[in-house]
């Protein structure tokens, strides 16, 4: 296909959401690099990517889940629980790789509960996953308590932190590599596999999807399990990055994830959305919070500015997709 004015125009028309997000990002970057000299550097971009890595890893899967019209509010708790479990196992003599495996399987178990209640029993995803949010969080605190405190840190084997601090090829932090891998996997699923196509179909019309012979329950369940698995992996990653497992981490992570997804253009009701959009959404959020700290803005004002950026970027988007408006 040749690139011509028409095609670009068409792309702009159909991909307004992304175009606006990219525009917002560019404006933010120009502003920040003028305002603070330390903004435009490899380490800073690494920092931002590290900051959004966990969000993007989980949101890659959660995005497709939301494309089917479902969501998972338990990711923060599953992440915290997995971090604690991993640290607990390692501290009590389970080899690190083994512990990772067990933690991942247990994390998928949490996803399995969501899959069971939401996909199979048809329970409202808000309540079902909030239920798991409570349960997993409670157990995270309990496991830590059985270990004798609120955090697990001392007594961990020295190699515990190696995984999280590993630099792939000596330059890329593992968290970023995992983020790219999760993105690539879900881009691939979205664009090239049946599951991706079916996810959109389910979100667009559940009834029609069933009548078309699509295994709707199976796909929704699978996505719930993958989301939980990614939350579990993120928990392991995060814990081994800081070398400490705390049961109170990632409170409200579910909102960060949903914000990235919705900013990226995925509808809560499903049927539309894209992995790339989600990434852009996460980056807007990540650069906003990075910039606010770089500028040394006090916390209270950061909160206000963050809210304004969220609403502002969606307003911009509305303005461009819907020129008739205001």
């Amino acid at each position: 296909m040749r690139w011509n004015v028409d095609r670009i125009k068409h792309l702009l028309q159909t991909e307004t959401q992304k175009a606006v997000l990219i525009g917002t990002l560019i404006v933010m970057m120009i502003g920040l690099s003028l305002a603070t000299p330390s903004f435009l550097s490899v380490t800073n971009f690494t920092n931002v990517f590290l900051k959004v890595a966990v969000i993007v890893i989980i949101a890659s899967a959660a995005n497709l889940l939301m494309v089917t019209g479902h969501f998972d509010l338990s990711v923060g708790s599953v992440l915290a629980f997995s971090g604690i479990l991993h640290a607990y196992l390692c501290k009590h003599g389970v080899p690190i790789e083994m512990s990772m495996l067990i933690t991942c399987i247990v994390a998928m178990g949490w996803g399995g509960i969501n899959a069971m209640t939401v996909a199979v029993l048809g329970i409202n995803p808000v309540i079902a996953t909030v239920g798991v949010l409570f349960i997993a969080r409670g157990f995270a605190f309990l496991v830590a308590r059985w270990d004798g405190g609120a955090n697990i840190m001392t007594g961990l084997p020295m190699e515990f932190v190696d995984f999280g601090r590993e630099l792939v090829f000596g330059i890329f932090p593992l968290a970023i590599v995992m983020m790219v891998a999760a993105l690539a996997l879900f881009l691939f699923i979205e664009k090239r596999t049946e599951i991706g196509r079916f996810a959109y179909a389910i979100g667009a019309n559940l009834q029609a999807a069933k009548l078309s012979g699509i295994n709707t329950v199976g796909i929704i369940a699978l996505l719930y399990v993958i989301v939980a698995l990614f939350a579990g992996l993120s928990g392991i990653l995060q814990t081994s990055r800081v070398g400490l497992a705390a049961p109170n981490v990632a409170k409200g992570l579910e909102f960060d994830v949903i914000v990235a997804i919705i900013l990226g253009g995925t509808a809560m009701t499903g049927g539309v959305g894209s992995t790339i959009g989600m990434l852009l959404g996460a980056l807007v959020v990540g650069f906003a919070s990075n910039g606010l700290i770089l500028l040394g803005i006090p916390f209270y004002y950061q909160s206000i500015a963050y809210g304004v950026i969220l609403i502002g970027s969606l307003m911009l988007n509305q303005r461009f997709t819907n020129p008739a408006r205001a």
């Binding site: 605190f141 609120a150 955090n151 601090r165 700290i293």
Partner: protein, 330 residues
Amino acid sequence: SIAATAGLADDKIVLGKIPFTLEHSYHQSIVEIFSDYAEKNYGAETIVVDGQASSESSLSAVENLIAQKVDGIALHSPDIGMTATAVEAAHKAGIPIVTTLIYPSTKTAPHIQPKEEFSSFRMGEVAAEQWMTAFPDKPVKVAILNFGGFEQIAKLRTEPFFKGVQSVAPDAELVAMQNGFGSTIKSMEVMLDILQANPDVNIIFGANDDMALGALAATEQLGRGKMKDGAPLTEIIAGVDGGENAMVKVFNPNSSFKLTHGQVRDNGRAEVDTLMAMIEGTIEMDKWLEVQTLSPEFDYWNSSVPAAQKFLEENFGFEKDLQALVDTQR
């Protein structure tokens, strides 16, 4: 004055303890010490209702305990204003109440006050001294992680710490003060951003150990965070609480997390003792009485591992060997 009558007829005394939030090890430990001590020394039973770091929940907790007709309430409230209300409610029900850490705005009940500000100041002093000795010509730049501006934290920890620094290095500069949300991972992310904007930060204070550990992780990721046999290289990190995780770093000659202070046991015991004194009528429940406890400071240069070992055993039910733990560190 009101007489503490409630519950005296019961065979067993029941105390209510409202921790700030059980989500932190400090508060878990204090609850443990409180109940053990009450049981062992007074044969009293303890009911724990979590304050969930919210003044709303804490006040509800007070009301619930009043409904259960406990004999005394120990409250670590998250808010100064609410403390007065809680005290009034307890008194109205004739139940003695003791408050901790957060001064009530009305002084109508006994209060336990850990004098943290001295140790915070001292940590600032020591950190600045150590830095100035090692790098006399590198100006002191301080970064602080707090809980998002809680005033009590400012009064007891962050302000005295910075004053301590200034007392040694008068032109020390506070280059960043950000919210670490009391969390290690959040603090790590925030500290990465702070160090990006201010790579020359050389003294970092986390208003609790979790945040100091997050700051340490951030510096480590940037290839800093190290000391050479206790000699500063890139920065000095200080925290508060004095738990096991912090101590292990503090006494590790290669880590730049070097100072902390804390107190659990004395606070817990003082709460129980004061409550029991009120129940037994030896002190009046509606008179202001400030019981002060100390929050001993530990740092690599001036404290010993055995002292820290003892502190951990007394305060956190520590049963391991600190030196051994330190030795396993890289």
